[in-house]
């Protein structure tokens, strides 16, 4: 850590295995810093960033939210996901949201299945990206991070993904100051959106949104191959 001029400001832990550090650093190479942190035995970084914080654990939403005190968390936007495991193991690293090591502040939740995962994964791995799990959803985070690190904006990157990722999907991306959703060409996976003057809510089912808005609201389903990006 010293090598990179990093200094820990605050340290906390919600479970015996999850730690949260706030730190400053002087180095330009965040990737090297991240790799050095992971040289500590049995350590895996879930996310590094200036704006986003990722939480992954096993159990239902209420349990995980209580464990990490999510109800007290203050912020501008958030995404969440309860996974029904089909492709890969039920463990913490295969839980959503996904982050792209070591690209800062990108998180993805995904509903669906990608059919050209391995091909795309090998290409991205050759370009130096690291995959933490064998779950197909992870590729979306890495794909978006790859595009954005090349200077392509989120909306364009998501539009490109509609043609370059095969399979069925509806996914939500969160960056430090943007929230985006994309739906595949078949519109195979559900999504309901509620937009008002000061709030945007998307979910697979309206009943989830209605937990926040008990009154009647006007919602709509986005159509196939639709990409929407909201600025925080």
């Amino acid at each position: 850590m010293k090598k990179h001029g990093a200094k820990i400001l605050k340290q906390s832990s919600s479970t015996p295995y999850a730690f949260r550090y706030e730190f400053t650093y002087k180095s330009d190479d965040l990737e090297a810093l991240a790799k050095d942190i992971e040289t500590v035995q049995n350590t895996e970084i879930l996310s590094i960033g200036k704006g986003l914080e990722l939480i992954k654990d096993l159990g239902d939403a209420t349990k995980v939210a209580d464990q990490y005190g999510l109800n007290k968390f203050m912020g501008t936007h958030g995404i969440g996901h309860t996974r029904m495991a089909t492709e890969s193991d039920v463990d913490i690293k295969s839980a959503h949201p996904y982050w792209a090591f070591p690209y800062q502040d990108v998180a993805v939740v995904h509903n669906g299945q990608l059919t050209n995962y391995w091909g795309n994964r090998r290409i991205l791995e050759r370009n130096g990206y690291r995959f933490n799990s064998n779950c197909d959803s992870e590729i979306i985070a890495v794909y978006i991070a790859d595009k954005m690190s090349k200077g392509i904006n989120l909306e364009k990157a998501m539009n490109d993904s509609l043609d370059e990722l095969d399979g069925v999907f509806t996914y939500i991306v969160s960056t430090k100051d943007q929230l985006g959703m994309a739906k595949d060409h078949m519109a195979a996976k559900p999504m309901v959106i509620y937009e008002s003057k000061d709030i945007v809510a998307c979910a697979s089912e309206e009943v989830a949104i209605r937990n926040i808005f008990p009154h009647e609201i006007t919602t709509y389903d986005p159509y196939e191959a639709e990409v929407k990006v909201w600025q925080v």
Partner: protein, 278 residues
């Protein structure tokens, strides 16, 4: 006489097996003089049910209980976009939802007239046999999947795969409809006043899709047909009855039908043919 008595006894003792058989053929039960689950109701008898804190099963049971008591008009308050509300109603009934429904609302219904002052999620009125469902807002995907009869009306937009696998009845969409509208439809009519997304009528076997706007693209074996005067009249009346504010006059609608290139039934045995079409 003795012979007849014996016959009746034999009939009652008849050993029918299978769950449905037991339900339908209990000769001593009064309700079997009508259809199963059908009750005499008075449309002027009105009640309301508050859905707050209730799950779908409880609400659906409450509707059944109300039907048994003869209520012909039921208002459901606070449906809260829950799933599977109002399914399996086999009665004449005026049903009003004061709010939105989630997935699979009003599935397998036969007879009721339903008004929903909100939106519906996926697969609304799936496999409806008869009746009328009016949705004031938008509808999700698979709207009216496998519809067999009745009128299904949405005043806003409908999602992807509207009328997938439909086998009868009419679907009316006041706004736009999503991709694969009329996918594999076999009979019935879909009316869309707005535009339709890609691959409309893909693999349709039969039936008609009327479009007021433009379909983005046509699916496999969907072709444009010619409207006749009778159809224009029918369309006009149907849209008027549905109380849809359609900007396009009925005469300007386009008609799409199956190109019948996928019809290979002649190579099949008659029995198989009947099974597919029936």
């Amino acid at each position: 006489m003795a012979g007849l008595e014996k016959k009746v006894t034999a009939f009652q003792d008849e050993n029918l097996s299978g769950r449905s058989q037991k339900l339908f053929f209990e000769v001593t039960e009064e309700e079997n003089f009508t259809y199963y689950g059908n009750h005499d109701v008075d449309f002027n008898k009105r009640t309301s049910i508050d859905c707050e804190g209730m799950d779908a099963k409880e609400l659906n049971q409450k509707i059944r209980d109300a039907l048994k008591k003869g209520y012909g008009s039921i208002v459901i308050k606070n449906p809260g976009a829950k799933h599977s509300l109002g399914v399996g109603i086999l009665n004449k009934l005026n049903l009003i939802f004061e709010g939105s429904l989630g997935y699979f609302g009003l599935g397998c219904i036969d007879g009721p007239t339903v008004r929903i002052n909100g939106r519906v999620g996926w697969s609304c009125a799936e496999n409806m046999m008869s009746g009328k469902v009016v949705i004031e807002n938008n509808a999700g995907s698979c709207f009216g999947a496998a519809l067999r009869g009745g009128d299904l009306i949405v005043k806003g937009d409908a999602g992807a795969r509207t009328g997938i696998d439909m086998k009868g009845g009419t679907i009316l969409v006041g706004g736009n409809a999503g991709a694969y509208t009329g996918f594999m439809m076999q009979r019935g009519r879909i009316i869309v006043c707005g535009n339709v997304s890609a691959n409309m009528g893909d693999s349709m076997y039969d039936g008609i899709i009327f479009v007021g706007g433009e379909p983005k693209s046509l699916g496999t074996d969907c072709i444009q047909g010619e409207m006749n005067d009778h159809e224009i009249k029918w369309l006009e009346q149907k849209i008027k009855n549905a109380e849809i504010d359609c900007k396009v006059p009925a005469s300007k609608f386009k008609k799409y039908v199956a190109g019948r290139m996928l019809w290979n039934y002649d190579n099949l045995e008659p029995a198989e043919k009947k099974g597919i079409l029936g």
